[in-house]
């Protein structure tokens, strides 16, 4: 009998480059060994809170080893409205995350099956969607349409990036157009809704998948909780806008614990290909 599940290959990959040391859980404020946290799929071993995962680590966790090839890596935001504080916010986000933008996308293999993939990074201005994020996700859908690839998307976002004004709102339509073309081509799109998926991202590509999965207790909604409370002048139940709330109301297909996510996605990909057919 095995007491422990065999270490996931994705976890092994992350552990190779992980630095020693401790991090503080944002939820229970306890100190956690960084490697233990990664071994536990970024779920706090003390309080079981699903901590947010950097975009690149998301991809490493699900992709076959060394199979990821990044696309549109150099698309970056511009402060074209000279919006107060935007330039500083961008610089700070780039410095603290090492990423150029709030989404990482490309192609990879999952259990030998070729897919297009994107993962949003909530550490980068709450993964809000401006021109760069919209452009990158549009390109990944266009690429997937051209080569008949499924798209696996990990969403996390505060919504449209107000620092880019109306142009950021239009990214919702731009991406939706690309999703529509991908769908018309008979291609599969699976979204994994992670904490937090809100605003304009919920109101566009997050909800447009053929299959919608979510992580346990992830916040998923359109309007912000405080706005809803002000509108209804009442306090809302604790589970309001949680993944469990959406499942109950019929808006997602399943809630998948992190340790089962890869297997679930592999199964979905296989169910969308003919048995025995090599993709």
């Amino acid at each position: 009998m095995f007491l422990f599940k065999k270490t996931d290959p994705g976890v092994r990959e992350l552990l190779k480059t992980a630095k020693d040391g401790v991090v503080v859980c944002g939820h229970c404020k306890e100190e956690i060994d960084r490697k233990e946290l990664i071994r536990n799929y970024y779920i706090c071993p003390k309080c079981q809170k699903y901590l947010r995962i950097p975009a690149r680590d998301r991809i490493t966790l699900i992709a076959d080893r060394d199979s990821f090839s990044e696309m549109a890596a150099n698309v970056t935001s511009v402060d074209f409205l000279k919006f107060p504080g935007y330039e500083e916010k961008l610089n700070k986000a780039r410095m603290s995350t090492g990423e150029k933008e709030a989404v990482v996308c490309g192609v990879c293999k999952i259990d030998g099956i070729s897919v297009a993939i994107f993962a949003m990074d909530p550490r980068f201005i709450m993964a809000s969607m401006g021109s760069a994020v919209g452009e990158k996700i549009t390109r990944i859908f266009e690429h997937a349409t051209r080569y008949h690839l499924p798209v696996i998307g990990f969403t996390a976002s505060g919504g449209a990036r107000m620092q880019e004004g109306i142009v950021s709102l239009m990214q919702m339509a731009k991406v939706s157009g690309a999703v529509k073309r991908h769908s018309n081509g008979g291609n599969l799109y699976v979204t994994v809704l992670t904490d937090p998926t809100t605003g304009g991202v919920t109101a566009s590509f997050a909800m447009q998948g053929d299959i919608l999965l979510a992580e346990p207790k992830a916040l998923i909604g359109f309007a912000g909780r405080r706005v809803v409370e002000q509108t209804t002048k009442s306090t809302l139940p604790d589970n309001f806008q949680s993944a469990e709330f959406l499942l109950e109301h019929g808006f997602i297909d399943q809630i998948i614990p992190r340790e089962d996510l890869r297997d679930t996605i592999v199964n979905i990909l296989k169910l969308h290909s003919r048995k025995g057919e090599t993709l």
Binding site: A160, I166, M170, Q171, S176, K180
Partner: protein, 268 residues
């Protein structure tokens, strides 16, 4: 403070609401109700009528004109069933080859608990995606406020017109001011920063036309608007369906300002 002055005008009491345009522009009107899923949302009026001698489907967000109608219409903040009704009527228009004309005037989609329970985000997402593939022409006219996703759910169109003093924004200036300065009273500054005017929309390729306002001669103003709608519809329908959809895709595809490697891409 041009943006703030326009914002005030766009929200002003007595400004014609969606139903006023329907009354002036369409004859033989047949209003159609309900989303066939959950309910009827009075914030969105939809139906069929003649624009000149052409049958069209109209969809209008209506804020209401007095307290009673405003309460009934939720001050023009649609619920998911309103957006789903709009989509139902658009699909119907597609079946019967009728163009769709949308009139947009909303602070935003209704941010209430029941709207969240019934999938406000999903309803808007589905509208935008389906509009991007709708095989019939769609023209949207922002007649007052174009509030965020709640407006975009009726604006994934072949053409967007802005009334002269209408505004279109990613977030309410109040919401923006609260986030930026923790002070909802700095609406004027936020409105300026967000670039929300009709001229801004033309500059960023979000709208094709600015429609002059003349509410004292509303009939004449609407007669002119009708001429513009008919002439643009004639241009759009000259194209094949696939050509029209290609143009609609490109209309949004080219919006975005970003940098890549050394150079600046996108427009303007």
């Amino acid at each position: 403070m041009i943006a703030y002055e326009k914002l005030k005008l766009a929200r002003q009491n007595g400004r014609p609401t969606g139903s006023a345009y329907l009354d002036e522009l369409f004859t033989n009107r047949l209003d159609l109700c309900g989303d066939r899923r959950y309910g009827e949302d009075a914030a969105i009026i939809g139906g069929i009528g003649y624009l000149g001698d052409m049958p069209v489907t109209y969809i209008a967000i209506d804020k209401g004109t007095d307290l009673d109608s405003r309460l009934k219409k939720n001050f023009g903040c649609p619920k998911p069933e309103g957006y789903r009704k709009a989509l139902r009527l658009m699909k119907q228009a597609e079946k019967f080859n009728r163009p769709v004309i949308c009139f947009v005037d909303t602070l935003g989609a209704y941010p209430g608990a029941e709207a969240e329970e019934r999938g406000q985000g999903q309803a808007i997402a589905e509208n935008i995606m389906e509009m991007m593939g709708l095989k019939t022409p769609v023209i949207s006219v922002v007649i007052g406020e174009g509030g965020s996703g709640g407006a975009l759910a009726l604006c994934a169109s072949d053409r967007v017109y802005m009334l002269e003093n209408a505004v279109y924004s990613v977030i309410t200036p109040e919401g923006c001011a609260t986030i930026l300065w923790k002070d909802a009273k700095r609406v004027a500054d936020a409105a300026e920063c967000l670039h929300i005017t009709a001229e801004d929309m033309v500059e960023y390729h979000v709208a094709e036309r600015v429609i002059p306002e003349d509410f004292t001669h509303f009939k004449r103003m609407c007669a002119d608007l009708k001429k513009v709608l008919l002439s643009d519809l004639a241009v759009i329908t000259q194209n094949s369906i696939s050509g029209m959809l290609e143009n609609r895709y490109e209309r949004f595809r080219r919006i975005g300002i970003y940098e890549e490697a050394a150079g600046k891409y996108g427009n303007p």
